[in-house]
């Protein structure tokens, strides 16, 4: 009896230790990278870095103001286009998407989700950059919004589906029309989840800026006042 208890305690201790070591390994890389960044780069971070534009290679000084502002404008515009469409589509899929149309929307969203971002970039280049005759932040935003919509739609759908059916019925039984039930009860209850998936969506497109080389390349590279990027 006693031997078994000792054995159990030893195994427990070993396993706890093992899991601890593994978690340490998992964060080690991140800690090293971040640490390196802070130690080596921290000294170059000052106010000017954020408010000044880059200077030609070889000169000292300058900053990344144009990149920050440009990213803000492009991502902001993409959110403006993408968030309503994506969340709306997700709500539709979860609440009304049991029919054929729902199936089609879901399928298209999944395909679009798996499309490499560069393909979306080429699409935006063909339909926006070429007809407009120049690269633009707008074209970049549209491309990013296209990337964002399918992912948002699917995650929103998942979140909305998590809302218990009984809540829906409660609202309907009080005399709420279906659309108001969807907006006021279901969407409100799923709000935290929808916000999270929106943030993940924004993070994804903000990181997927590669495709901008295809559509907004020149305005991103061009130096000068930031508003030039938005033209």
């Amino acid at each position: 009896m006693n031997a078994r208890r000792v054995r159990r305690r030893v195994v427990n201790g070993m396993m706890t230790g093992l899991v601890g070591v593994l978690s340490f390994l998992a964060v080690l890389a991140l800690v090293l990278i971040l640490g390196n960044l802070v130690v080596k780069g921290g000294s170059s971070l000052d106010w000017n870095f954020f408010v000044k534009n880059p200077v030609p290679a070889g000169e000292s000084g300058g900053g990344v103001a144009n990149a920050i502002v440009g990213t803000g404008i492009i991502v902001g515009l993409a959110c403006l286009i993408g968030l309503p469409v994506g969340i709306g589509a997700g709500l539709y899929l979860a609440e009304f998407g049991s029919g054929r149309l729902g199936w089609i929307v879901r399928f298209v969203a999944d395909v679009l989700n798996g499309t490499p971002s560069i393909v979306v970039g080429i699409f935006a280049w063909t339909w926006l950059v070429k007809p407009m005759g120049h690269f633009s932040a707008l074209a970049g935003s549209v491309a990013l919004a296209i990337l964002m919509v399918p992912m948002l739609a699917r995650t929103t759908e998942e979140m909305v589906r998590l809302v218990p059916h009984s809540l829906r019925e409660a609202a309907l039984a009080l005399g709420y029309p279906r659309w108001r039930t969807s907006l006021r009860i279901v969407a409100r209850t799923a709000l935290a989840g929808i916000v999270t998936s929106s943030l993940v969506g924004v993070a994804r497109i903000a990181g997927g800026l590669v495709l901008l080389l295809a559509v907004a390349a020149r305005s991103a590279i061009r130096q000068g006042p930031p508003h030039g990027a938005a033209r």
């Binding site: 009984s166 019925e169 609202a171 039984a173 009080l174 005399g175 029309p177 209850t189």
Partner: protein, 281 residues
């Protein structure tokens, strides 16, 4: 608009429309049934769930629907406020009349109908909001009361649901923070705040402990002064304790309907007798 048909018929039957007056509405004679079911059948896709139901539900009384699981009690209950319509591929024949007006007629707006017919579900399902907002939800939507009258209305509903004394000091607390029995009474208050004519209760005590169940049962007896209550229950003792009339459902058919005492002491159908004596179901 569609609401008019329903509202008109009510005005005729109950000239005193202020639901605050206890029990005595001049026009509301106990003899007129509140719900009149006429050869009502219902299908889920190809499966027929209800067969030719014909009976009437008396006003200002508790009517219990009993029967084994899957016999159609809840399906019938949800037909009264047309909640079944939201399930795809369902259909019905026959008719259900509320206050003499068909709930299915083109003039009846399901939204207006559900204002007249409150519902309490098996699981307490308060909204993730404050206690006050839970109760104020229906009146706000239906424009039944101005916001400054809302506290009074909420208090009235909570008092009727016998919850007021327990929550009056924390109306701003979340509805979900209450105990199960309190949540269920909150849901009853939420339904009552719309001041409905009929209250449908779908196994309202099945998720509650005996003490909370007793509170709800006492509440039902009180509420029948002002409301017509239809309760679906699996608990035969509950049916015999609280109800004035009982209907026995079996395989989608109404086998027997009558005075609760009579059903429980001298049922006329042997299947009813077998069920209430616990030989099956």
């Amino acid at each position: 608009m569609s609401v008019v048909g329903l509202a008109d018929s009510r005005t005729i039957l109950t000239p005193d429309a202020s639901p605050g007056s206890p029990g005595l509405r001049p026009g509301s004679v106990t003899a007129t049934p509140v719900i009149d079911v006429r050869t009502y059948s219902f299908w889920y896709g190809p499966t027929q769930a209800l067969f030719d139901l014909t009976f009437t539900i008396p006003r200002r009384a508790v009517t219990a629907l009993i029967g084994p699981s899957g016999c159609g009690k809840s399906t019938f209950l949800r037909s009264i406020n047309r909640l079944n319509e939201l399930i795809p591929r369902t259909r019905h024949t026959g008719d259900i009349l509320l206050e003499g007006v068909s709930v299915f007629s083109r003039g009846t707006d399901p939204v207006a109908l559900r204002r007249e017919v409150g519902m309490v579900f098996q699981q307490p399902n308060p909204f993730p909001k404050t206690i006050f907002d839970n109760v104020a939800y229906g009146p706000r939507l239906n424009g039944l009361a101005a916001e400054r009258e809302m506290p009074e209305r909420v208090e009235r509903a909570l008092r009727r649901a016998a919850l007021w004394d327990e929550v009056k000091d924390r109306l701003r607390a979340a509805g979900t923070s209450l105990s199960g029995g309190q949540q269920q009474r909150l849901c009853i208050a939420r339904a009552l705040a719309n001041e409905p004519e009929v209250l449908l209760m779908d196994e309202p005590c099945s998720a509650l402990d005996p003490a909370a169940t007793q509170r709800i049962e006492e509440l039902m007896v009180e509420l029948k002064q002002n409301y017509s209550i239809v309760i679906v229950t699996h608990n035969m003792q509950q049916a015999s304790r609280v109800s004035d009339f009982t209907g026995f459902f079996y395989l989608g058919r109404l086998i027997e309907f009558g005075d609760t005492k009579q059903i429980f002491t001298r049922p006329s159908d042997e299947r009813t007798e077998a069920y209430i004596t616990g030989r099956f179901g």
